[in-house]
Symmetry: C2
Subunit: 233 residues, 2 copies
Amino acid sequence: MNISNTLQVNRPAVQPIPQPSLKRLPQYHHYLVDMETKGITRISCSAIGRDLGLVPVQVRKDLQYTGIIGKPKTGYSVSELIQAIEKFLGWNNVNEAFLVGVGNLGTALLGHERFSKFGLRIVAAFDTDPAKIGQWIHQKAVLPLDKLADLAPRMNILLGIITTPAEAAQAVADEMVKGCIQAIWNFAPVKLKVPEHIIVHNEDLYSTLASLSWKLARRLGVTVQEKQEKEAV
Amino acid sequence: MNISNTLQVNRPAVQPIPQPSLKRLPQYHHYLVDMETKGITRISCSAIGRDLGLVPVQVRKDLQYTGIIGKPKTGYSVSELIQAIEKFLGWNNVNEAFLVGVGNLGTALLGHERFSKFGLRIVAAFDTDPAKIGQWIHQKAVLPLDKLADLAPRMNILLGIITTPAEAAQAVADEMVKGCIQAIWNFAPVKLKVPEHIIVHNEDLYSTLASLSWKLARRLGVTVQEKQEKEAV
DNA sequence: TGGTTATCGGTATGAATATATCGAATACGT
DNA sequence: ACGTATTCGATATATTCATACCGATAACCA
Ligand SMILES: NC(=O)c1ccc[n+]([C@@H]2O[C@H](COP(=O)([O-])OP(=O)(O)OC[C@H]3O[C@@H](n4cnc5c(N)ncnc54)[C@H](O)[C@@H]3O)[C@@H](O)[C@H]2O)c1
Ligand SMILES: NC(=O)c1ccc[n+]([C@@H]2O[C@H](COP(=O)([O-])OP(=O)(O)OC[C@H]3O[C@@H](n4cnc5c(N)ncnc54)[C@H](O)[C@@H]3O)[C@@H](O)[C@H]2O)c1
């Protein structure tokens, strides 16, 4: 893994898309697919912005990162734009993933067929609970966790999803690292300690909950509220 | 609703905590509770920052919004800090909520007992599927959606959770608004059109997925990557 | 055909957020 | 008891992100 690190350092500077823009791209994508099914073939930033609650300039800037080029007066081709976003996000070629922790949340994710449209296929699940191991949940086998580090490299799995209780998450992450997994989608509310080259994204539902309850606790003035509604992820 | 709006406008400016800080508070909370169970009674921003991957200054600034005051050389009292965060976020008094859409994700949320520690109690679920209505899932009744607008005001429910397919989300939101629900936690990947005074927060799992797959698609140079790991929510 | 209008793309400005710096306070060791 | 190291809290700077602006271009209409 030192090798790959070194290689990466020497690469030319990567196109730096702002994190917020990156996170808005899927929203555009959803919206555009919806428009396409409605038979709309061309669309402008103003229209997108109106429907998604964003100012047109921001939409335009975000979309520019995908490399799409629009035409004055008519905007963008909807299908081209969808393609551009999918290509940019790497949603054309599927990432296969392992999921660890077949509880409430893990089961829900396993059952979400639609992920395959967004470049994600969960191919197997892992747990430590003997009652769960050996079961098939949503057509995926539940395997013992200690098989993960061995299987991942052989199946060339690069992505791991953690839906275990917080206490177990670090140990699971360690196993994933051992299995040469490159990126981790972590639903447990803990900061994982992993080597630098591993990509970790936390999905912290409690963050959103905090925002909501804070705002609900002190009902905000509308001016402030409006601003923060726009910021809502 | 005009009345409440007007009242809100006249209120003094609300203490403006940055959205990013607000979202970090639950992370501190988790960490601190963990520390407390380990018997640690005092803690410094440097220690928190080290364990959570943040620079000490940022931790200090975030915590200051809660009104906590620390002592030089020793830092903060862990228990006081936990209290301060909980009070600040309104996690002391419970918000009761309705959940709509008892599918994969809805069921997972219904089963998450731990939410009650974070000021959230889901008291009932709603759906339109006759097969689901009348069931009890995780000790919560599944009721027909058309009862929602009537029940919410009578039970004084202010928070709604949407876990339906995207196509149904807007209609559900409309029902919630009809039932005078004040805040919506939306898991469907659509922008909801609601009156201005309603607080909406979207939990867009696809956003995170986009980040992950983008980074995975072009394995980044480490320097860039390091920065973005810190930004990972 | 020429004017009008909507829209894109690039650049400039502004706001929000993150980080650095510095003095004051407090515990700790000598 | 006194110097030293650590940390807080406040202020200042830097960076990132959002928004405003402007010229150029293409469709549309008279
Ligand atoms: N369910 C939700 O709605 C929800 C909401 C917010 C956050 N979360 C977070 O998601 C995570 C999972 O939540 P959940 O409700 O699904 O929990 P859960 O208890 O229902 O499921 C946890 C699963 O992980 C398995 N597990 C435990 N230790 C393990 C280990 N060392 N290795 C492998 N598997 C192990 C358990 O056997 C179980 O199947 C938690 O960290 C929780 O904080 C869940
Ligand atoms: N499950 C996941 O892992 C996951 C991941 C990302 C996003 N999401 C999003 O969360 C939402 C729910 O996903 P899911 O997998 O739980 O879907 P699901 O199909 O399993 O469940 C949807 C539920 O909503 C109910 N429903 C449909 N129309 C309704 C209406 N008009 N009123 C009330 N209830 C209605 C259905 O009967 C069903 O019970 C979707 O918008 C999806 O995009 C889910």
